[in-house]
């Protein structure tokens, strides 16, 4: 009897937690095991099950430390897969971003894994969780990781496309095709679809002003367009996976500040020149200023370049004073074959630290990497 007939005749039922709590479940590209999913959803309201979840996690982390074989990536993957199943909503408290980061950092200098598709996929999933993944793709490029795989070029190009850098996306896909990345058909197909989309774009303007991206002044519309394009791409390409909720969370909202001309994205920098903003309503002329102001050229206003955390990787993190509990202190990473300290840290992080660390990583995904590994 085939498995399906067997299932049907056994009169077994599948729990329906997946449907009841579907809003709490982040779809995974690789799909989910429904029994694990139902179990995890039940656990979030059941202490007994919760304990067994934590027990499982500890075991998987131990397995990483104790692994003796010649494929040390495997126990990391088991752990990652498990966290994805056990924390259906994903989110900042799951520790998923931290595991991705520790995993990729453990092996970035391993020649053995440079062409390993599984390793590349961990990087690509990490990139999906960051607010600006470009720095990750540059890193992969500079360190020759994953460049024999189509998935690398496709993800990189999609990312550039979401930033409206059509020429860069085009070049990347072409490079992948000429490098004969595998599977080549998938890459060619992605390129065709990319061309079709770029024909349909409303503003076919070239936005290649500079190498680095200038922060875009968003009046809500541009940001929404960027996101909705990413949504549109994803909806078509990934078969209705509702990944767009995730995209909204990853890119920080840019809030237009009327009185302050320096708009920088995502940095909690200088305070507003406070007093005039919300305390006084202002006279009618001031309230109506948008309707009365005469349009003028914008040449006098300079938009400062967003500091890109590249060469200054190590220095940037020094500028932000983050209080770290002693047991969670990150030791400076050296070329360590088996990052024993890192998995210990995984074990000891609690909810608050996980969230804090996740947020830091989202903003600056390579912050823990030694500066000599970062692309110039």
């Amino acid at each position: 009897m085939d498995p399906e007939t067997e299932f049907l005749s056994s009169k077994r039922q599948t729990g329906n937690e997946w449907e009841l709590f579907k809003e709490n479940v982040r779809p995974l590209k690789r799909g989910r095991n429904v029994d694990l999913l139902n179990h995890a959803l039940k656990a979030h309201t059941n202490d007994q099950l919760k304990k067994s979840l934590l027990e499982n996690r500890r075991r998987l982390i131990e397995a990483i430390d104790e692994y003796q074989g010649d494929d040390p990536l495997q126990p990391w993957l088991d752990c990652i897969k498990w966290v994805q199943e056990a924390f259906p909503p994903g989110g900042d408290f799951s520790g998923l971003v931290l595991i991705y980061e520790q995993c990729v950092r453990a092996f970035w200098h391993w020649d053995h894994y440079k062409d390993d598709l599984r390793y590349l996929k961990v990087w690509l999933e990490y990139a999906e969780h960051c607010s600006d993944a470009e720095v990750i793709y540059c890193f992969l490029d500079a360190n020759d990781i994953g460049k024999t795989h189509s998935a690398y070029y496709i993800a990189y190009a999609l990312h550039m496309e979401s930033k409206s850098k059509m020429k860069a996306a085009n070049d990347i896909l072409n490079l992948g095709i000429s490098s004969n990345a595998q599977p080549i058909e998938k890459l060619r197909d992605a390129y065709k679809k990319f061309l079709a989309r770029s024909m349909r774009r409303p503003n076919a303007t070239e936005e290649e002003l500079k190498e680095d991206d200038l922060p875009v002044r968003s009046f809500g519309t541009v940001l929404a367009r960027g996101e909705s394009q990413r949504q549109a791409i994803k909806t078509f390409e990934l078969g209705r996976n509702k990944l767009k909720q995730d995209q909204v969370h990853r890119t920080p909202l840019s809030i237009y500040n009327d009185t302050n001309m320096d708009v920088t994205r995502g940095h909690h920098s200088k305070p507003n020149t406070g007093s005039n903003s919300w305390h006084t309503l202002g006279g009618r002329a001031e309230r109506n200023k948008e309707n009365n102001a005469m349009p003028a050229k914008w040449t006098s206003h300079k938009i400062p370049q967003r500091p890109v955390p590249r060469i200054v990787g190590a220095v940037a993190s020094a500028q932000i004073e983050v209080f770290v509990d002693e047991e969670c202190e990150e030791k400076p990473k050296v070329h360590d074959e088996k990052d024993r300290t890192s998995s210990l840290q995984l074990r000891e992080l609690d909810g608050r630290n996980i969230k804090k660390e996740t947020e830091l990583l989202r903003e600056n995904p390579l912050r823990n990497f030694p500066s000599n590994s970062l692309p110039r």
């Binding site: 498995p3 579907k22 999913l37």
Partner: protein, 207 residues
């Protein structure tokens, strides 16, 4: 007044066959839409089962499904249909990625003794609605189909059935080691339909 209500709830064999084959047509469309087999814009919205249901406007697919449901209805009326499976395969490699399995239990008393059954239309519609909702929500756990896919429909019938030439014998197109999820069922009291979706376990090291 009482007699009118009763008359409405009587299910005939023909009526049940119509309900089930119609269900299958809408379910097939819903799967094609939700799994991205055909582009969104090739579907139009209609109201059915108290839900906004999407139907393909592609002439080829439309006629395929219409012929299919007509044939299923015939087999159902004869009580010979056991299972209908919608198979989704990769266009490039023909590998079976997903199977939507509708298995049918027919009440043999209806054929042998010619009894009729009673069940309110409303209730049947509610049961079908629950299944349609589940199909749409199944992206929660189904792997993303990020390559062009094609679909096919397999019918399991009793052996003594007349099969039109448009149908060919096929292998079962099974998935090895599938993940399986049982969805809701619906029952017209003459035909009971169980729904199961099975899909490939996605390994981390696959392209």
């Amino acid at each position: 007044m009482a007699s009118r209500t009763v008359a409405k709830d009587i299910i005939t064999l023909r009526g049940s066959a119509a309900i089930v084959s119609e269900f299958f047509g809408y379910a097939a469309n819903s799967i094609l839409y939700n799994r991205g087999i055909y582009p969104e814009e090739s579907f139009a919205k209609v109201k059915k089962y108290g839900l906004p249901m999407l139907l393909t406007q592609d002439e080829g697919v439309k006629s395929f499904i219409t012929n299919l449901t007509a044939q299923l209805s015939e087999w159902l009326e004869a009580g010979k249909l056991q299972r209908v499976v919608m198979v989704i395969m990769s266009k490039a490699t023909n590998e079976v990625l997903e199977r939507w399995n509708f298995s049918i239990e027919t009440d043999s008393d209806v054929f042998e003794k010619g009894v009729s059954r009673e069940k309110s239309d409303r209730e049947i519609m509610r049961e079908i609605q629950a299944i349609m909702r589940q199909i749409a929500s199944s992206i929660t756990y189904l792997p993303c189909l990020d390559e062009p896919c094609v679909f096919d429909v397999l019918a399991y019938t009793d052996t003594d059935v007349a099969v039109p030439f448009t149908w060919i014998e096929s292998d079962p197109k099974l998935i090895a080691n599938p993940q399986m999820v049982k969805l809701h069922s619906f029952d017209t009291k003459i035909h009971k339909v169980d729904t199961l979706v099975s899909y490939k376990n996605d390994e981390w090291d696959e392209q």
